[in-house]
């Protein structure tokens, strides 16, 4: 997956390595270091893939420039998004505060209107007479269409 740079010439390999390589020690697989080398691998000399130094330098330069540009763009875009989110949140908070204020004002006005119907010392007698003259009946049911059904047994 990632190209592993390791082994004896780590320092030299680091100069010529492509930037995407991972500098890690080679990992042993199934066999430990005391196990003998397999018969088919006797005399094998492992060589890393050939790397053209000129090409590598040019590539490294180009890649580093490309990645720098991309990182800068990403940072810019993220900053813009964050700013926009903050603005939206601020606007929303503002709107909600206004809404709340308007709601409370509406309630106050409603209450002021209702206050005209409250009972005071002057209309106490009149209200008592009114109440005694008009008995109310809340003993009804409602079906889904909202039609009232009154079937109370008179006592």
């Amino acid at each position: 997956m990632f190209q592993v740079i390791g082994g004896r010439s780590v320092q030299a390999a680091r100069l010529v390595a492509p930037r995407s390589a991972v500098l890690v020690e080679a990992v042993r697989g199934r066999k430990s270091r005391t196990d003998p080398v397999a018969k088919s691998k006797e005399g094998r000399i492992k060589e890393p893939p050939p790397v053209d130094p000129v090409e590598m330098v040019v590539l490294k330069e180009r890649y580093s420039e490309y990645q720098m540009i991309m990182r800068a763009l990403r940072v810019q875009v993220e900053k813009q998004e964050a700013e926009r989110k903050q603005e939206d949140a601020a606007a929303k908070r503002e709107r909600e505060q206004q809404e709340f204020i308007r709601e409370k004002e509406r309630e106050i006005l409603q209450l002021q209107e209702d206050a005209k119907t409250f009972i005071t010392m002057e209309n106490l007698d009149q209200r008592i007479e009114e109440a005694l003259d008009n008995p109310k009946n809340y003993n009804f049911a409602i079906d889904k269409e909202g039609r009232v059904v009154k079937q109370t047994i008179l006592q």
Binding site: D125, P135, K136, Y138
Partner: protein, 110 residues
């Protein structure tokens, strides 16, 4: 101030006496700093069961509904006063909560 509802059951009496009891109750409320909003009469009905109060057994009673705004600290004394009134069979004070708005915050998950 929170909004309360007094459900009052008065003894069956003649009209002037009922009026006098109601007047007494409302005046008590107003003395203690309540603002009475509305007084409703639910009629004279057969009580659901016999209620004994002040050495009398009642089978019929007149139901009244009184909503008012008051401080919560007066309720204890008020109920005490109503329990001592001979013409009152039963008095219950309930809180009237504001209606829950129908926003999409709670409800069955669907």
């Amino acid at each position: 101030m929170p909004r309360y509802e007094l459900a009052l059951i008065l003894k069956t009496m003649q009209r002037p006496e009922t009026a006098a009891t109601l007047r007494r109750t409302v005046e008590t409320l107003m003395e203690r700093g309540a603002v009475v909003r509305n007084l409703e009469n639910l009629g004279e009905k057969l009580l659901p069961y016999k209620m004994a109060k002040h050495n009398q057994s009642h089978t019929r009673g007149t139901y009244f509904l009184l909503d008012f705004y008051a401080a919560p600290s007066i309720l204890n004394r008020l109920l005490d006063h109503l329990h001592r009134d001979v013409d009152v069979v039963r008095s219950t004070v309930l809180r009237k909560d504001p209606e829950v708005s129908n926003s999409n915050c709670c409800g069955p998950k669907s």
